[in-house]
Amino acid sequence: MFVELNELLNASPERPEQGKLTLLRDTKTDGSFLVHHFLSFYLKAGCKVCFVALLQSFSHYNIIAQKLGVSLTAAKERGQLVFLEGLKSCFDVLFGEEQHVGQTNPLRFVSEDGSNLKTMYEFVRTSLMASGSDSWKCPVLLVDDLSVLLSLGVRPVDVLDFIHYCRVAVCSQLKGNIVVLVHSNDDSEDEENELVVNSLCHQSNLILWAEGLATGFCKDVHGQLKIIQKGSSELKAERNLLRIYQYKIQDKNVTFFARGMSAAVL
């Protein structure tokens, strides 16, 4: 986890928040460093994490997590982390033996004609359900990333249904958190994606939006992060809190600074 980001969000591993939906959004840049931050943050906080990794392999996350001080293999062994490797499950669905695949593979929808994410939801629910011997704090669902589901033929309505079911199960019933990564673009022509992203923006409590700089590539400032915190009570119609910082990604850390205050400039 990135210490500076924790300070900006006023979050600490000792007392993780509960019942929140956090949306990670990226535009014209790669926002996956935020996913790595939240993964190591919640593992260090002692929460039970279900990670739906649709785009990269397990060892990719493992190597980066080790740089951030967490071992994913150890977390898997002690039952703190349930890792769904999307690429491997998809391969099993399409090329695996019929009897081994069974009915419970979460990515079954790829081979069937439907865009039914029910099996994936069941997988998430069963893995985060508290079993008797567990001593973990609140459960967390992490999804990287949701835009891939649209590429696989799932309709936007079904994606939103899936998130809704997960919110009911994880946020309200189990008092846990959900963190989701989506890609978006201001002038994107992908209307389905924009529909999903806009809808999630309205539902989420915290939005972290990583954007590339409007002026183009820069070696010292890799992008700009917008932190939008929704007002805590809808009845009082409180305003959203918007803060903007710029960041630079290093090998094991990400430094955040106010706009224009990059170390290279000062």
Partner: protein, 407 residues
């Protein structure tokens, strides 16, 4: 990749690619034509063009996909495709060539021949720094002939001369070299006649056949670590030509509202899974300029690792523009993957152009030629200002006004 670090772990173990490698491991260096990356120990392959390797941060990582957005007539993307395969032949890798329009045997016969000059390669390492300031043209040099085939773009001093070769575009690869290469073919019209019935999957059937063929080769030849003790490890270079074009049975290139917009993206997703779990690398050329639905190209970009777009000047007004007289086109690097690391080796140069002289295809930083005209008239400067506005399209919105300021 599965067996390398764990010493023969079973494929169902969950040990897929991108394990951290200890740099001194002798088992890794045993695979010809690869080298570990400096940053994260990832195995890198050469793409066939040393200047493209520099732009991509050292080379193409094993287990990743290089997507080339074709230029308008497909001439230069075809060249890059051939260089990738030719590099595989020279390094002794296995090849898998898939095409829907050309017979793979014909593609292989037309690959460029490698330029072997061991003596001159040693000179490269010594005299590299002296080269950067040379201004001579690319015509054959009478005095400094040893410098003739050197790369123009900066090559890191650690780059060994055995990683990445130069190819002579005018000569074809020798049949003996072809004979010694093990290669597999996929020619869509032939597959349709050989196996008319296949298990249905809701993808365009050309893509389904191709995936099954690739998976079969990877499994049978052991590229996914299924036979750890059997033989020397090797890399499988997969080349797929013009994916998404009409010949594959997909209508995204010819219809404004295609019937099935998910076939190509599903194919790329499954291919990504196949690549990540095996010792292979893939190059795909896509006729992006024909795809009307830009949403598909955005999704395709997100599902690929490295994306390079080619823009040739043929037929456009830039062909006669004096700014571009030395170059044949521009190269846009849209995406470079971040593997096993939070950062990637991005080159600082965003304006890249390529030129194809008699034998060599090189990628260089685009330089504006000096304005040496005697009459520095306002009209000629206006033209240059317009042209520089076109240049800046590569790196985001830069505000360049129409007026040329005289200081």
């Amino acid at each position: 990749m599965a067996a390398l670090a764990t010493g023969g772990g079973t494929p169902s173990d969950g040990a897929t690619s991108f394990q951290r490698k200890v740099p001194a491991s002798s088992r890794l260096a045993a695979i010809a034509g690869t080298r570990p990356s400096v940053r994260h120990g990832q195995l890198l392959l050469s793409s066939g063009l040393p200047s493209l390797d520099c732009v991509l941060g050292g080379g193409l990582a094993v287990g990743t996909l290089l997507l080339i957005e074709e230029d308008k007539y497909g001439i230069y993307s075809n060249l890059l495709f051939k260089y990738f395969l030719a590099e595989g032949i020279v390094c002794g890798h296995n090849l898998f060539v898939a095409s829907a329009k050309e017979d793979p045997a014909d593609i292989l016969k037309e690959l460029p021949a490698p330029l072997f000059d061991d003596v001159h390669k040693n000179q490269v390492d010594e005299k590299e720094t002296a080269i950067k300031s040379k201004q001579e043209s690319q015509e054959s040099m009478k005095i400094a002939w040893r410098y003739q085939n050197l790369p123009r773009i900066e090559v890191s001093p650690a780059a060994s001369a055995r990683f990445g070769h130069y190819y002579d575009g005018s000569k074809m690869v020798s049949p003996e070299l072809l004979q010694s290469t093990k290669w597999h073919r996929f020619f869509l019209p032939e597959e349709k006649s050989l196996h008319p019935e296949i298990k249905t999957c809701n993808m365009t059937c050309g893509y389904t056949r191709l995936l099954q063929s690739i998976q079969r080769i990877i499994y049978q030849e052991g590229f996914d670590g299924s036979y750890p003790q059997k033989k020397q490890k090797n890399i499988l270079r997969i080349g797929i030509q013009s994916l998404g074009s009409v010949l594959w049975g997909d209508d995204i290139c010819c219809a404004d509202n295609p019937e099935d917009i998910y076939s190509l993206t599903k194919f790329l997703y499954v291919l990504r899974g196949l690549l990540r779990m095996s010792l292979s690398a893939c190059i795909i050329t896509v006729p992006a300029h024909l795809i009307q639905n830009k949403a598909i190209m955005e999704r395709v970009t997100n599902l690929s690792d490295t994306v390079v777009g080619l823009e040739s000047f043929i037929g456009s007004e830039r062909e006669t523009n004096p700014l571009y007289k030395d170059y044949q086109g521009l190269i846009h690097v849209h995406q470079i993957p971040r593997l096993n690391s939070l950062i990637c080796d991005v080159s600082g140069t965003k304006d890249l152009a390529f030129r194809l002289k008699r034998k060599l295809f090189t990628i260089e930083r685009l330089h504006l030629p000096p304005d040496l005209s005697d009459t520095v008239s306002r009209s000629s400067k206006q033209d240059l200002a317009e042209s520089t506005k076109l240049l800046s399209s590569g790196c985001g919105a830069m505000a360049i006004g129409k007026k040329h300021l005289d200081f």
